[in-house]
Symmetry: D2
């Protein structure tokens, strides 16, 4: 079955849902089934339970706050003063830089740049929009061109690295959340008390308390960093794999927050995902299965603006994360339900 | 091609290597080919270049420093004093706790417990050995039994959560590295200058400088946390997927370090991975393809001690990470090589 | 007034309170006035308001969870395997190590040791009790002796540093909170609704909500690390200076948490301070003014066990922190009160 | 000696130096003696040794990279979409906001604003220049006015907190370093090998290696955050106290980096301090002693631009930090020197 040199790893996958998803701008109000690729079969019924809640509660509201992709370069000067002077000159030439960027791709556009100086080292973080691509290659290509231009124009700077880890790709950081990297999406839902009780076997108060004691305080004492959630990573991995994304980006993707409140007699529950690095085109997306899936998700639409397909994908992703997170948190408010359901599901799977 | 409810996501996979791997205890000295499942095709030739270096340099030395799996529970008391008193009593009864643990699984054993108290909240972190399983389910089952026992024996404590995020699973943290979670493995290699120059087109000095400026300082300014590397996440994801692991654990897995030095006329290069959560049995491992792969990797050996197969898998994983990390870092010391090789490989892939 | 070479910097100081403080063990139930040395005069009335609350609410309960002081050394080996082997041997000889420690001081005792290995580097973190001293010098002396012994007994190890930053002193870290450093103290109070409303012009619900939105979530998005509070640092600085402590230790001291709940018709409010590095003897304590102050605080008692005076000081410190934190948080729940009171106080001060 | 209600805490203080300091812009090239207020007497000879090196090596070069002060407010909306819409409107009215700011102070000016949205919560971080004041009160006053204006103009927003911890003041964070808070200063020196050997009893290579193994890697494994140094906090505390600064700001001030290199036959050594919150006017500066000191330091000059006096103070501070850091690091490269010199100095002090 295994060919020596070139084979496939088959990840078990199921369609879950549909999830009722609404876009903040009112253009989106749909039920969307979603594929989850995972070895951990309990994720399917768990996320499905959240999806059912979405249908019972007239939908999950999704808002895209920001969208950009980044690459940082590292440069070496003789002194901090030279590095500082070079930075001041470079940042003043943003238009020239953007011309260089646009010569490398019809989709890439420079939208901002930031920097840090440490002793004689200068780190420049370029921020781009990259259309419907997640943009890894596009920004590397752009950064490569920018770096060549900088080295040609600033004799006081020499090459340190095409990627200075101030980007930062697939690594824990604070910078990605603070300066932005990927799509910044928030998904929210309001769940009446009776649905909490009947369908999630919990209460708004219990969920809010669990969020404080586990996600917020538990995370803080664990020495977490810009992260307060139960298991964002599980849903991200499964949805990234099923849609052809580079799933190593769940590292930063999983650095997100649950915020919830008791509102009147309902639960307000939200997931905030500041760093969803996703695309509807690019590496992995032209595999036939993946293309079919992206098409079914409505993310290969030709009639929309550049970037809209990828943002739609990120919106769906955030809704998936909300479904899975809500379901597990509800389970964990019940001392006994979690393990029992976990075991039950596994047994079913293994039949 | 896509069945609605139950299908597979096919991740492109290749065998890479072989990698020359040596165990620190002298029992392992083999060439091992490794499977990498990824949508990012450049990872294959890049890791293969590292594998070639391993063969030219008489092997990568791997050392297992630690091996444990954890689960924390959260409990609520009325006061800090009551929580403190309860903790002191519980920790004094470790033998009783271990009896409970062993009644839940023949493989689980309690090896340590730690705690935190915040106001009236008590978080207890149980640490177990779990044989050849990564242990997610085993420790949840054990923690469930421990929690029931605690609640039955300590009236001053009430249930907060079966998982208090002080574990911590699939989330960024400092606690996993400091108290331990998963297999703690270090892989090291010594590369003579001529091999650096000929096969990696770099020098020992350039690699050491890049590690300081990018992985260490670049990571620090990005607000990284217990993490200093270029792209551990890529190799971890690909090897985890190909071997049936729960790849969401690359979140903590990717929090590791590169340390390197110029030694005489050679490069000493090491990767330290404190949190490899991997198993040779359990969820995902009984899929036929995966079983074949684990078998080929020598990780389904019946003649070894419990845990040895999983540790062998983690050792191989660390060697894979070293290969990919070394290769990318070498590429990044050359201003132009990275992008060019990246583009070349993609073009080849797309033929 | 300024002598060239040797003068004093006069920090304005006031006695505040008294604070009603109770020890968790029932041995302490006193009203204690506390000195605060600060250039920021609004801190006095603010903390005094908290002190008044303590008297109205039958006291602040204080619990000491832990007490230890640490120093880490860094060592260099050739390989991870050698470092690992050395560590395993060293940790097995804890009794010998403790004999060495006790030969350096009659107060120092080794209570635990931890380690990290990164490539070929071995970091050993020694944990001591140090009587009534904060212990900086005591543990350096002990670590110096331990290091000499290790270098003499383990030829495979060579010196890297007497302090490897895994201690860690006066620097932000997760390790101090997770493994322990200094006195770990929790202070708690229950405040009936009417006192909240009348004396703090707020409600239990408003304080709890502010804690979630500001200290927990606001801290998390700021990229904080094991820290969730409004201004612990202010009270720590003022009390440390007034009692002759090394106030640079407010770096780790300020990494603490507020946890609060609405309980029935009252507010439960707590501050958790895992890393109070304080002593009643040692550098700075023999200055006559300081000695008088320590005496007035009841921290130079000769009839108590070694360490009890320093722990009493840490308990008082935690109560001071609670007073100041509660007062500022109450003020911040009122949109207008904060700035107005701030300005008013300053004007009064400047009369 | 102690008056009950109003007295001073006398911090032992000495003038150290002079330090030879050069400004990057060439306007500063002076020898400046500096006051250090501390209970830890070994800090004086240690910093003095660094000062001597500065004189032997033709000076410490100081560069000011940035200068701003911040305050964040927290607001509550009903939904993320409303929060997002409000933010987009607010940020588009930066000129109006700046008018409000300037009406609150002749020195405050709004230079940038940033934000975060978590669920329905909106955090806005205002960034100001504040002339020669550190700016705590100025930015609170400005933020208070901005907040009132926002609440009056945006009905969908309600008050959460005048300070949302995304500022962040006197607390560990990544945001202060990444977005900027306080004066961002770098101090650098080049030390010929013979001076390293004769006056610091070390070598350039030893210092560089210690920086890697202790400050960088040791800090990383300790779970540090944007911090890589040995003891910045000690010098900051002593200089802040002696110059009337709010020393609780050493929390963020101490989050800085040492970067050093062997250059030819010399040591390049630098300290980077991104968050020096200092002023030459404001609270604490009108105490007569402090005023004398600021005058002696040349920081009460009337003939310079607004802000220049405070930046001069920050430059001197960075130079002091370099002196103390260099001296301790040199001592720690020698296994025996640290403890011996520490003990010797104490004994001298106690004579």
């Amino acid at each position: 079955m295994i060919k020596e040199d070139n084979f496939i790893t088959p990840i078990p996958t199921r369609w879950i849902g549909p999830i009722h998803i609404k876009g903040a701008d009112g253009r989106l109000d749909q039920e969307v089934s979603v594929p989850l690729a995972t070895y951990e079969s309990p994720l399917w019924p768990s996320t499905a339970r959240g999806a059912k809640i979405s249908r019972l509660c007239s939908g999950i509201n999704c808002t895209v706050i920001d969208d950009r992709m980044t690459r940082s370069v590292a440069l070496r000067s003789k002194t901090a003063a030279e590095a500082h002077e070079a930075w001041q000159s470079i940042v003043a030439r943003e238009n020239e830089l953007n011309d260089i960027v646009q010569s490398t791709s019809q989709y890439a556009k420079l939208v901002d740049l930031n920097h840090q100086i440490v002793g004689n080292l200068l780190y420049i973080r370029f921020e781009f929009t990259t259309g419907d691509a997640s943009g890894h290659n596009m920004v590397t290509k752009a950064a490569d061109a920018l770096l060549s231009w900088i080295l040609a124009n600033y004799n006081q700077l020499e090459y340190s690295s095409i990627s200075g880890n101030f980007c930062t790709d697939k690594k824990v950081s604070a910078v990605n959340g603070i300066l932005g990297r990927g799509k910044y999406v928030i998904a929210e839902i309001n769940i009446p008390r009776d649905i909490c009780e009947k369908n999630l076997r919990t209460t708004p108060e219990k969920i809010v308390q669990l969020n404080i004691e586990k996600n917020l305080m538990g995370g803080i004492i664990a020495g977490s960093l810009r992260s307060a959630n139960a298991h964002f990573a599980n849903m991200l991995l499964a949805f990234y794999l099923a849609t052809g994304q580079d799933a190593a980006n769940i590292i930063e993707g999983s650095q997100g927050f649950v915020h919830c409140e008791v509102r009147g007699d309902a639960l307000y529950f939200s997931v905030t995902l500041p760093n969803l690095i996703m695309g509807s085109v690019g590496n992995g997306k032209s595999i036939p299965n993946i293309e079919d899936i992206l098409n079914k998700l409505g993310c290969l639409n030709h009639d929309v603006q550049s970037g809209d397909n990828a943002r739609r994908l990120a919106i769906i992703c955030a809704a998936v994360v909300l479904c899975g997170e809500l379901s597990l948190m509800a389970a964990q408010t019940n001392p006994k339900e979690l393990m029992r359901s976990h075991l039950l599901m596994e047994r079913q799977e293994n039949k």
